[in-house]
Symmetry: C2
Amino acid sequence: MNKNNYCVIMAGGIGSRFWPFSRTSCPKQFLDILGTGHTLLQQTFDRFNKIIPVENILIVTNKIYLDLVREQIPSIPVKNILLEPYRRNTAPCIAYANAKILALNANANIVVAPSDHLIIKEEEFLGIVEHGLEFVSKEDALLTLGITPSRPETGYGYIQIQNDKEFEKKHKGISKVKTFTEKPDSEMAKVFLESGDFFWNSGIFFWSLKSIDHAFNENLPEINSLFKEGANFFNTNEEENFIENIYPRCKSISIDYGIMEKASNVYILCSDFGWSDLGTWGSMFENSLKDKAANHIKGENVFLYDTNNCVISATNNKCVVVQGLTDYIVVNSDDVLLICKMKDEQLIKQFVNDIKLKLGDNYV
Amino acid sequence: MNKNNYCVIMAGGIGSRFWPFSRTSCPKQFLDILGTGHTLLQQTFDRFNKIIPVENILIVTNKIYLDLVREQIPSIPVKNILLEPYRRNTAPCIAYANAKILALNANANIVVAPSDHLIIKEEEFLGIVEHGLEFVSKEDALLTLGITPSRPETGYGYIQIQNDKEFEKKHKGISKVKTFTEKPDSEMAKVFLESGDFFWNSGIFFWSLKSIDHAFNENLPEINSLFKEGANFFNTNEEENFIENIYPRCKSISIDYGIMEKASNVYILCSDFGWSDLGTWGSMFENSLKDKAANHIKGENVFLYDTNNCVISATNNKCVVVQGLTDYIVVNSDDVLLICKMKDEQLIKQFVNDIKLKLGDNYV
């Protein structure tokens, strides 16, 4: 394994779209969403650990999740768990990881990945990661991982490539990025799909430490300088205190918006390794085992009658009888019951807000 | 209060149509179905106790419910709680009560009533009960209470009267019965409603002990003679043992089928005092308070969106979110979740059977 290769796993999200399965106290990445016996974080860690040594894997999360991370990834050194005191989106999270790695290895090449995505073809994925890390070790490039779209999905952002077959062939699937797009409407998504120049934005990135540091200095200098102030504190006892002090002063901004959409040296490695961001019940449903009536069932004592295309999730101690439902999500956790049309699942965020307003943090 | 007046409350049902609210371990009559602060049994007892002394009120129930009855009706003497070791439908239950009363008062007049019905106009009802008891104290009559139908209900049996205005006027609403009918189909129910000669069978009966004893001897002599064998045991320590021995030999038959449909001296007192047998979720729904969207809601933490005409029942510790449902029953008890179309609630018996087959008695 290349000792200059590092992996940063971002695990600080609260996954409110997956409520009530995902809770503020235990978000999606810490759950075994698909019933595989491993949480999404564990799957992500194990995957990267096949090609990157554990001492080079960093997990950035909110400080309230320290115990969850230690429990689920006992092999990782505690100093490799980066604790954010506040949620500030992805740019500060990455700047923190950069500063931490800089104190150890200025020649690092880094892959940054969310902790809560599904990847089905693991070997193919790891080959791509190695290709990406090699590319950024040689080029001053910010490389993002694009997924060949299989359907006109409106739930993802798309990235348009500069169509240059020769460049792409030379660099094995890597293209220069032309534009980042917002989530399209259904018509536009169809156009994107047909054009062949648009790829799903996976939120997985590659860069050398030098390149991303340069990009921060160019595009988000105020964030980078905050972290640079404490260069001597990283990997010491003073790190926590320092981070606690600067995070309130950090603006909340995504790496996509803050850097990728602005920098000129942005590339995309396009591939298809069976990816889903599992961002919604619908995407979980698509990637899960189903019964003959196309229901995804979790729970040992579930009785379904005249029920189709539903997600039914219950604790094993609950006896659940559902009759006459089609295209619904039914989730019964210990203290919450959610029944919601699959097509209206974007309302779940609103439900969670309403509950917070009326009942506080008890159920969210 | 007339010391010859007795009341027999039948409280041995298991209420499986109301599952999972009603459970074998605590059926409907022991529940506060409508959220009034009193269980149906308590309401029934309190109602009759206004005109019948407590020592003349008998509650017949299954022996597994003794503790529930004592807890809910602490004022009733334990000897007035008649415990059936097996379920044998209403005829043996009434024969048992007759034998018990015979040992105390051969001149008794008895009203027999289910424990789990709703009666809204209580004062009117009590006036009718007194009228019924008076009638049977003078006439050798088996009198049943008929309800003026308000809709072409297919869930009730109907009783046709012998249309004799003069007799009816003389006896203030009492007619001779022409026929008992099964539950009609929807077309037939409309014909019944329009004819004016058909009344809902409430399952509430009046008779003198002499008349019902005679009717048993005529129509169900084998049941009556079983109980007569132990005439000396009633109201003694040997009663329980005696009942335990004869019940297995008792056939299971309803008083309607075994006696009322066969005897020649059957009368009906027709009235309308806001009655429902609360036999189904639908009938409970009709008799309950509803929100603006016509939902009946039980539970403190229920959030509804785009949801209409539903029964939503949850424990207070559960946060329930329902979106996009119309005409459904959603019941969340501690260990069961039921979601079922209101119009298909007759399937609940099937659900309960399926669960029994697969999971035993745990959830039923």
